[in-house]
């Protein structure tokens, strides 16, 4: 395995994994770069090239065994087991994220929810008790949490990010519509509905 895989290749692997999970749910056992490509709007050559970074996983002419390829991708992406996540923000969005049922079996589990509003701290979202922000740092450090989701208003997001980074968080999923400034060893991804909407308008008459 080469030591450096381009970021753009890594960014496509979760898309492949999700497509494989859907194929599994539909009862398929085997697929091909051609079929994956057709579903994803990516060329089959690109898919074969991406997967070849990790040894290929398939044999010429016989396609990919889906359960095997899923396992291999999960291993590459380090999502064979669940990562504990700290969620910051228990407003409308935080509630929706805490209750989201799409995390199960995909490598993640929200473990702690924080807010600083007196009427939210101590409240329950399903099984979670909302913890006060002054326990954020110690909770992350004590439980070696590495991933956090920010679901606070835009004007509070950078302040929260600073606390998270200081406590040892190295991956942030940001729902707030602002660009976060973090050290270079911290990854940030953005949930930005506009990107997805703009990917569709081109095709509208």
């Amino acid at each position: 395995m080469p030591t450096i895989i381009p970021d753009i290749v890594i960014s496509r692997l979760p898309i492949y994994l999700r497509a494989l999970e859907r194929l599994s749910q539909e009862g398929h056992e085997v697929t091909s770069s051609h079929e994956l490509g057709k579903r994803l709007g990516i060329s089959s050559a690109q898919i074969r090239k991406d997967l070849s970074h990790f040894g290929g996983f398939g044999k010429q002419g016989t396609g990919y065994r889906i359960p095997y390829l899923k396992d291999q991708l999960r291993q590459v992406l380090k999502v064979e087991q669940d990562w504990e996540i700290a969620l910051i923000g228990a407003g409308d969005l935080g509630n929706a994220v805490a209750r989201y049922r799409g995390f199960a079996d995909r490598g993640f589990r929200i473990a702690y929810v924080f807010d600083n509003a007196p009427d939210k701290v101590g409240a329950h979202i399903d099984d979670f008790e909302v913890l006060p922000m002054d326990r954020l740092h110690e909770t992350i450090v004590h439980n070696s949490i590495r991933i956090a989701m920010i679901a606070v208003p835009a004007e509070a997001a950078q302040i929260v990010a600073d606390i998270l980074v200081e406590a040892g968080i190295r991956a942030i999923l940001n729902y707030a519509p602002i660009n976060l400034v973090v050290p270079s060893d911290v990854r940030v991804q953005y949930i930005d509905p506009v990107i997805h909407l703009q990917r569709m308008t081109y095709y509208l008459p």
Copy 2:
């Protein structure tokens, strides 16, 4: 201009546009495929190739004029003006989406919010009055709405999608964690936080 642009190229243009908007906010007037590539983790060759589908927009050696390139991308993506959006679901997530401030100046405006819960219909989310589901079809048809966002529980999402498609919706942004079945002339994009989380775990120690 060639008649068919690959989907994968179109899918990258909103990412370029967002990067250009951020460069503008930081006070830049000019950029290069190299600088864009560095920010986005995409090769500069890929960026030049993508933009060449639309005439290039830049001159060799002088880089891209950011305001011009932004305008051109907005035109290609058809987001120079605001599209009206119907939002279905006024629960936690729907409330968060309706209040999201990231749509402004990026081509979209939530115009109508629907729900079927008696305690939600007639309620206000900021300036929106939540409308009953039995007015969904007529509202979409009468106002020629083409884009909808689904923020209802997973078990209701397909039923809602069917109504939307029947009424003339041709682009759906789906927040529910299920795969929608729609005709081939309807586009669907998914908000899936797991994809973004899985793009970061690879890099965690």
